[in-house]
């Protein structure tokens, strides 16, 4: 287990570090890429914790999403390159405090209670996927159906918000 522990710590640390970079860098693209690397590190952590399906899913999804985000960043940001070095933050102290307090509270919550016996064995990847599939189509069918509807609605809504009828656009 020590290997797992080391990898876990490594990828965890990488995720955190990249997360910090997201908000400290002035360049927007670098910010997006940092986020990408952070999410990828998290995917790697999944893999380390023997949740292969989830890990792969995470990496694939996040890669795509972050790329899209990078495009959007370039679209919308004033200074995508970050050459201006403008301070783009507000209520820094408040948010700092909130972040610190939230962090400490969460740490407290994590470290104080007794989590009970740790499981030793994990089902194989095959078995996990099969179980997950069975779960999906069995007990959690309703959940995913509603999730699916929600996603559809969201997609439609997003499209509608993003698209403007031609007539208005031309004006």
């Amino acid at each position: 287990m020590t290997v797992q522990m080391i990898f876990l710590a490594f990828f965890g640390g990488a995720a955190v570090w990249f997360g910090v970079v997201v908000f400290r860098t002035h360049s927007m693209v670098r910010s997006a890429l940092a986020l990408l690397f952070s999410q990828t590190a998290i995917g790697a952590m999944f893999l380390v914790m023997q949740a292969e399906f989830l890990g792969v899913l995470q990496i694939m999804m996040m890669a795509t999403e972050m790329s899209v985000m990078a495009i959007f960043m370039v679209m919308f940001m004033m200074d995508p390159g970050g050459m201006g070095k403008m301070d783009m933050t507000h209520q820094k102290r408040l948010s700092l405090w909130v972040g610190v307090i939230g962090l400490l509270a969460a740490l407290l919550l994590v470290w104080l209670p007794d989590w009970g016996p740790v499981a030793q064995s994990v089902p194989g990847a095959h078995e996990q996927a099969a179980d997950l599939g069975r779960e999906l189509l069995g007990r959690s069918m309703l959940i995913f159906q509603s999730a699916g509807l929600t996603i559809l609605t969201a997609m439609v809504a997003a499209t509608m918000v993003a698209i403007v009828p031609n007539a208005e656009q031309r004006k």
Partner: protein, 103 residues
Amino acid sequence: MILELMIALSVGTGLFGIGLYGALSQTNLVMIIMGVELILAAALVNLVAFWRYLHPDEPAGQMFVLIVMAVMAVEMAVGFAIAIARFRVRGSVEMEEARELKG
């Protein structure tokens, strides 16, 4: 074993803190969305850690993770749609100028 759990959880909390700070302190909408992504990622890490070290036999844990991922995707999509709309109206997505809903 328990230490691994602790490490994973600590990582989750760290990400959570950073994401919170970012969501509250950034002026740009896209940056705010990124902060929220980080928070959600922290939640994912915690979920997976709990599944792996406490209840590996339960597929419901993974289910939960899938749902959170879906939510992340949807949230990003809608968020960017709004950002486009906002950009069209205002010409920028700086939240500092978005005072229309002031009471």
